[in-house]
């Protein structure tokens, strides 16, 4: 799987998320409270809603539409209505850039 240069670390505030589109796919990139970075699919598994509009609290992302919650480190559903986990992707930081392996 290729590593993709997604954004600068400065593009995301702590406990925030941004949307990153690549090659026809949408991803969500998160900066956790400990300045750690994570990447999941960009769309909620319940309905196709962009998670980047949702609220990040600690290590949870909440869908902006129907309030499904996921742990964005593992992709696991924490609260329905979503029933399916999110896919997650490895990340690393190099020279101030957030790289994701997709």
């Amino acid at each position: 799987m290729p590593w993709i240069d997604a954004c600068s670390t400065d593009d995301i505030e702590a406990e925030e998320v941004i949307r990153f589109d690549h090659d026809g796919r949408s991803f969500a990139i998160y900066r956790g409270p400990a300045d750690d970075f994570f990447c999941t699919d960009g769309l909620c598994t319940h309905e196709e809603v962009h998670l980047a509009d949702g609220l990040v609290m600690e290590y949870s992302i909440e869908c902006p539409k129907h309030a499904s919650m996921f742990d964005y480190r593992t992709g696991e559903v924490e609260t329905p209505p979503a029933c399916e986990d999110l896919n997650t992707y490895p990340t690393k930081v190099e020279n101030g850039r957030v790289m994701i392996e997709i």
């Binding site: 406990e15 309905e47 809603v49 962009h50 509009d53 949702g54 609220l55 609290m57 909440e62 902006p64 539409k65 129907h66 309030a67 329905p80 209505p81 029933c83």
Partner: protein, 397 residues
């Protein structure tokens, strides 16, 4: 001991059933649904998404959780003394605990015979089938359902007229500023809105206004509110007053009988409310399930609603008091939020409207602040530079 019987397989009943299993309840769970379809989500119906039903849970999930799902079945009576439920297929179920989650049904006023209403997938298909290009659609009621249907029909190329008796749209649910914003959007899209106009009578193809004017349509839809489905509870002798009366744990007046979701009237912040809300139905189903297992205190979740109309989304957390002032915060684009504080300065309600999901996370933060009864200065509420998350963390610490 007999297991748990749940009457009503909507969001509330389904959530309750799965919560019971998640919490380790090992006895029988029977979930009774009147409709033939696998329990499905209703919000897409008013938004024109009617081709495919969206199941709340996959069919296999019921088997995996050993939930005995009985569809196309009516609960005909409940005997709270014998602790039995009589079903339309002639069978009789014993229960250890019973949850009534019968929801609400669309209301029609006298003199509106023949108007379509929206509650089920079948209703939605009938409405959408009539909403093609060039069709004339009359909508009675400018609430969430009426306006979402109006937007859907307009998008399908229909000529749409909405008749609302109150001077403003959505008057019961959102502050005036948001109602006016949504109204102008509908007008820009070419929806004919007639507010402050009462309907004298209506049928499948005409609406006659109070002044005597008669309007002709291809389809007439009424979205004039819903009534809680309490027949079963009343016949069983439970206390009913604008919904099945329950305590903070969703217990009814009969022992071992609970009620939750749209059909119940529950205590909240010193008053009593009945909600018609997708998320409250789920939250209350979960809470009632825990209460049936003896694991829950009083329900304290903040009411939350949303509506999608054209490319706008509006969200509301808490309940607005129309007599009190609101504080406005402008966001990017022309999206904005409105906040209301109670007499002691605690955040009590928040609403927002904007394109797509722009207001979502702000309203979610406001909801958490309302839940915590946080006191916030109006200047902080109005200032887009004051991060609501920071206020929440301050309130939590």
């Amino acid at each position: 001991m007999a297991g748990i019987v749940i009457i009503g397989a909507g969001e509330c009943g389904v959530r309750a059933a799965f919560t019971l299993r998640d919490k380790g309840f090992s006895q029988s769970i029977t979930l009774i649904g009147a409709e033939a379809a696998l329990p499905y989500e209703r919000p897409p119906l008013s938004k024109g998404q009617t081709d495919e039903l969206k199941p709340i849970r996959a069919e296999a999930a019921y088997d995996d959780a050993a939930i005995d799902l009985r569809l196309n079945t009516d609960a005909q009576s409940v005997d709270v003394g014998e602790k039995t439920v009589h079903l339309s297929d002639g069978s009789v179920l014993d229960y250890g605990k019973l949850l009534i989650a019968t929801g609400a049904r669309a209301r029609l006023f006298p003199g509106m015979d023949g108007c379509l209403t929206l509650r089920t997938h079948e209703d939605a298909q009938r409405i959408v089938a009539g909403c093609g290009s060039g069709k004339r659609i009359g909508v009675i009621g400018g609430g969430f359902i009426g306006l979402e249907l109006a937007a859907t029909a307009r998008r399908a190329g229909s000529a749409v007229t909405v008749i609302e008796a109150a001077p403003e749209l959505m008057a019961r649910a959102v502050p005036s500023e948001i109602a006016r914003y949504v109204q102008s959007r509908h007008e820009d899209e070419g929806v004919a809105l007639r507010t402050g106009v009462k309907v004298a009578s209506a049928n499948a193809e005409t609406i006659t206004l109070d002044g005597g004017e008669t309007l002709s349509f291809d389809v007439v839809v009424a979205g004039v509110g819903a009534l809680p489905d309490t027949d079963l509870a009343e016949a069983a002798g439970l206390d009913v007053d604008n919904g099945i009366v329950v305590d903070g744990s969703f217990r009814t007046s009969a022992s071992d009988v609970f009620a939750a979701g749209d059909c119940c009237n529950f205590p909240w912040r010193g008053g009593r409310v009945r909600l018609e809300s997708w998320r409250a139905a789920q939250d209350q189903g979960e809470h009632a399930a825990c209460a049936m297992l003896g694991e829950a205190g009083d329900y304290a979740k903040v009411p939350w609603f949303w509506s999608d109309q054209f490319d706008l989304s509006l969200q509301v957390a808490g309940l607005f008091d129309p007599r009190r002032e609101t504080v406005r915060r402008d966001l990017d684009g022309d999206a904005f939020l409105l906040f209301q504080r109670d007499v002691d300065g605690r955040l009590e309600a928040a609403a927002g409207v904007g394109l797509g999901n722009t207001v979502a996370k702000h309203i979610r933060l406001a909801e958490k602040l309302i839940e915590r009864e946080a006191t916030i200065e109006p200047a902080d509420l109005a200032d887009p530079g004051v991060d609501l998350k920071r206020l929440l963390k301050a309130a939590q610490s």
